[in-house]
Symmetry: C2
Subunit: 397 residues, 2 copies
């Protein structure tokens, strides 16, 4: 018989996907260039030319078995060395290849991290607003994801609520900074307070509370914003990284788990990742992509377009009277809707071909997300639609 | 706290890996060309030139977002269409894209198949000799893998033992033909008898018993051997395929799940695979590899070397008095050892720089595996070592 829990999931359609499908269908009608589709977080800028050049060079010169052969279970050794060296240079922590496990993007990295430190029934806490896929990612392991309500003033951490929820059933905290959907970067003060609380509670409960740091937007930080290294604040940190956004290759499925070198049993944890892989059908990221990415570790796509787009949107939103925390990074912005029910607000916006995602799905009802990883020219054109929408529906502007 | 079940697994080292490590260390001493390393099933022939050409062409001409963007959750639509068309043309079953889910190699495909049809505690049966990774693959889902003892005369199915073990707790049967490690191809008669028994028992128990067919060696079949299509015999078949061996790109992690179009709920099962993916951190095979492979679906690497190697080894083994079922495909052969304990036999062989794997790990004690995916020239040189080993240790030849 087919397994019921997966059949049951078929009826629950992702709101984001439904909106993206609307945008696509509407695009067929009026031309996709006329749909202001802010639904999907799909990078819009090309990979660095160096990546493409390296791929072509390797395909033209290297032996097939060297290029396409099985990767060792931990990832290709030279690639892990290069990742560790890059992290050490950048963050000043003594990373070695022994702390690095290559994974199929952030989703693959998180699948390993959750299984390293939680048994079924254990709790993981995350902070609203949060990436909604965390729910199936965690729930299907048997662990329980609980969501701490947002601090809507700053979209930093709501420590009051957090402390209430931080019981001895909690084995891990899951954070995402720079954050999807708020665009906010956790400050040094936030991370320091978080680390202090986790250290205190770990002692009190007599077991480690691990910090799982999901960092796919780490390289997309805007001018003047300080983005502290999470691992530097707390020894028991498991960093989950993806190159999807920094190098614009989300389809190639490459990232890594980096266990803090100061974490107890760090090297053992990396070997445990290999055992976890055997149970979930993970078998390293593609070899050729590992090799190519390791040559451009300290490069990124031209990410400046995201900041340009953010400024255009932020300034317009504020001018129109929206309440909005200014993003410090990513390609998301998360303003407050102009009426209580953000679902109704976003539904009305569709009439103006503005595709916005209600915050409910991110654990923050009353807000909405715009993913501005689109051409700046389109962002500029969308501002008129935004003004018209706000004026006609809410009498503002 | 770290999860104990994964920590416990760290002490159990794979026999195959240990032997491969021996071969590598010995190679450092005496030159790798002098070690007759039959331990690992790593393809030795290059990818087809058409694959490399296609990769370079795409990298040189296509848009970055088209090439490296997120794949839809089911796999790239055009790729699924091409896979379905190729399967329909080849096997005459009405495959459509709705029956195809792109997966990260056979390991990824199997991870989905097991979760489709088993809950924790359910049983899956497989037949010895079998690929030892099936144990962690299944056990870590919570289902239970039980191994039917081998029919050592033919390495087809031991139906007597199978029927005894086929209780109503069994939800799936896992087969691998052409088989690793025996090299044997299941005959039409075997598959017919298997299908009849499963149909009868499904009715008797009032639930489907699914057939999970792991087919990474499907394209490596030797001259004159008939390799019947498993899915044609039994409607409730879930085919798990990998391009690792046919195209020699095991590191690029690409394969698929193909649910038999005649299987009840086939299309629903494909959508269920997407839900399963969310829980295991799977996120489609790499986009660029999907696109490139779809252009060479009906091509293979030059696989003739494997048959040449097989014939050299088989003839020599038989001449030396080994009992050995002649392989019909793959790049494995699985002779009977010359003493009862194959572990002792393989240990003695190491003195002659022959790296053989004892059959115990494949569920068939007393036998040993040779993976002859190595250069023919090396196979030829190994024959003298084999003769010397057999003569000095067993007084034969």
């Amino acid at each position: 018989m087919l397994v019921q829990k997966y059949r049951d999931m078929l009826s629950g359609k992702s709101v984001i996907r439904q909106l993206a499908e609307f945008a696509s269908a509407r695009g067929q009608e009026i031309g996709y260039e006329n749909v202001f589709d802010y639904s999907l977080g799909n990078p819009s800028v090309p990979v660095p030319q160096e990546f493409t050049d390296k791929m072509i060079e390797m395909l033209s010169t290297r032996e097939s078995s060297e290029l396409h052969g099985y990767s060792p279970n931990l990832g290709i050794t030279s690639v892990r060395e290069a990742v560790a060296a890059s992290l050490e240079k950048r963050f000043g922590l003594p990373y070695r290849k022994e702390h690095i496990f290559m994974a199929s993007g952030a989703a693959g990295a998180l699948a390993h991290a959750f299984r390293l430190v939680t048994e079924p029934g254990d709790e993981i806490l995350t902070f609203a607003p949060f990436f909604p896929e965390y729910h199936p990612y965690v729930d299907l392991t048997g662990a329980v994801l609980k969501v701490v309500p947002p601090d809507t003033d700053s979209f930093q951490i709501n420590f009051e609520k957090f402390e209430e929820m931080l019981t001895d059933k909690v084995m891990a905290i899951l954070i995402n900074t720079p954050n999807n959907p708020s665009g906010v970067v956790y400050s040094g003060a936030t991370l320091k307070k978080l680390a202090e609380l986790l250290t205190k509670k770990s002692e009190e409960y007599g077991h480690e509370i691990y910090l799982i740091s999901d960092e796919p937007y780490r390289e997309i930080v805007f001018d003047g914003v300080e983005a502290p290294c999470v691992s530097a604040f707390y020894d028991n940190t498991i960093m989950c990284y993806s190159f999807s956004k920094s190098l614009s290759l989300p389809g190639e499925r490459i990232g890594y788990v980096a266990v803090n070198p100061r974490c107890k049993h760090a090297e053992e944890m990396i070997y445990m990742c290999v055992q976890i892989s055997r149970g979930i059908g993970h078998n390293c990221p593609p070899s050729i992509i590992q090799l190519a990415v390791s040559e451009v570790l300290d490069k990124t796509s031209d990410l400046s377009v995201y900041e340009r787009n953010m400024n255009l949107l932020y300034n317009e939103l504020v001018a129109l009277g929206f309440t909005c925390v200014k993003p410090g990074g990513t390609f998301y912005i998360f303003p407050k809707a102009l009426e209580e029910d953000a679902k109704v607000f976003c539904q009305k916006a569709l009439k103006y071909d503005l595709v916005l995602v209600p915050g409910d799905t991110f654990g923050a009802p009353g807000y909405f997300r715009m993913a501005y990883c689109i051409d700046t020219e389109k962002v500029e054109r969308s501002l008129a639609a935004l003004r018209k929408f706000v004026k006609e529906e809410y009498g503002r502007g």
